[in-house]
Symmetry: C2
Subunit: 203 residues, 2 copies
């Protein structure tokens, strides 16, 4: 595998207007060649646009969860769950999942919804921190990247909603991303969490 630099990924993201994971994947597939990666992204974008033509997820619902403590609401969560049709938006199962995700957020306190939203500076800072930790622990250079990758995965699982394990494994055993993906497959529509707001007393 080619050595993909963080700067190249960053530049490609800006040039092509895509998320970090897409940029990284394109660069890897293009063996680190920036021009080729840019072409790949354009092709993929066009292919995806054709597939989803007239299938924008503009419908949806607002899931909510209010936590009561000491005789009054002390925390509230709102989640916008988007889908393509009015029919799915008002179905009981769809509304139920939106509320379940809101309940999960009250506990999981994610900072971002998807990996693509993750703040670039925050990610670079975490990587550097994990690298220094591994070096300080005297790990051999050739395994450090692997260790750091593993720690970054765990960091995603802490901070990114779609990577978090759903709070109640008896109801759903998997990540919130899996939950949304399975619902999308079942309903046959693009389904996505679009926005999350969490407000708690004194935070």
């Amino acid at each position: 595998m080619a050595d993909i630099s963080v700067n190249d990924i960053q530049k490609l993201r800006q040039d092509a207007g895509v998320g970090m994971m897409d940029a990284k994947k394109a660069l890897t597939d293009a063996d680190g060649d920036m021009d080729k990666a840019y072409e790949l992204l354009r092709e993929r974008g066009q292919a995806q646009m054709a597939k989803r033509a007239d299938r924008e997820a503009n419908e949806g619902t607002i899931g909510s969860y209010i936590h009561i403590q000491n005789d009054r609401p002390v925390m509230g969560v709102l989640v916008e769950l988007a889908c393509e049709t009015d029919f799915v938006a008002k179905s009981d199962e769809f509304k139920h999942v939106a509320d379940e995700i809101a309940m999960h957020v009250s506990w999981g306190k994610p900072t971002w919804v998807t990996r693509d939203e993750v703040d670039w500076d925050a990610l670079v800072k975490e990587r550097e921190l994990f690298e220094r930790q591994a070096q300080a622990e005297g790990k051999p250079e050739h395994v450090i990247e692997k260790i750091v990758d593993g720690k970054i995965e765990a960091w995603y699982a802490d901070n990114v909603l779609y990577d978090q394990k759903f709070v109640n494994s008896e109801k759903f055993d998997g990540t919130v991303g899996d939950m949304v993906g399975q619902l999308g497959s079942k309903m046959g529509e693009n389904i996505a969490v679009r926005r999350v707001a969490r407000v708690a007393v004194g935070e």
Copy 2:
């Protein structure tokens, strides 16, 4: 009255760590003298801190409002209403006002809670726009400032929660700021809207 420059207000805000209205008032009272204005702010801050010692508004509740349309929730609002004691926080009247403000926000869509939160660049841009409008209309120079001040007041009333007229004048005839202030007087505590979140499908 001394001529108060926007730059002086901005500088004083940063130096003294206060809101725009406090900085402007201090500069006006100090006749535009920056050092005197800074001293005034320090004195006022100390006086206020003494008055409110041990009276921080760390308690509160979360007011909420969910708007249903076409068989599902399409908009949600959360409002953190802060007070000083647990006793007030769990009173029915306090919780009721928090919900009323959430309902108001669903309609009023304020960008900011108080004037002190207003984005400085946005305010300067509005002032300049109103100035150019008044000049284009051929208004005499000596009344332009007054006209602009009036338009800025109207702009606040559109965009700042505390300056908005409460949506239902039969329930409360005044601004949301008045509503919060009156509740504070009645309860004998510092009461304030601390945070607002509004999430709507497709926005």
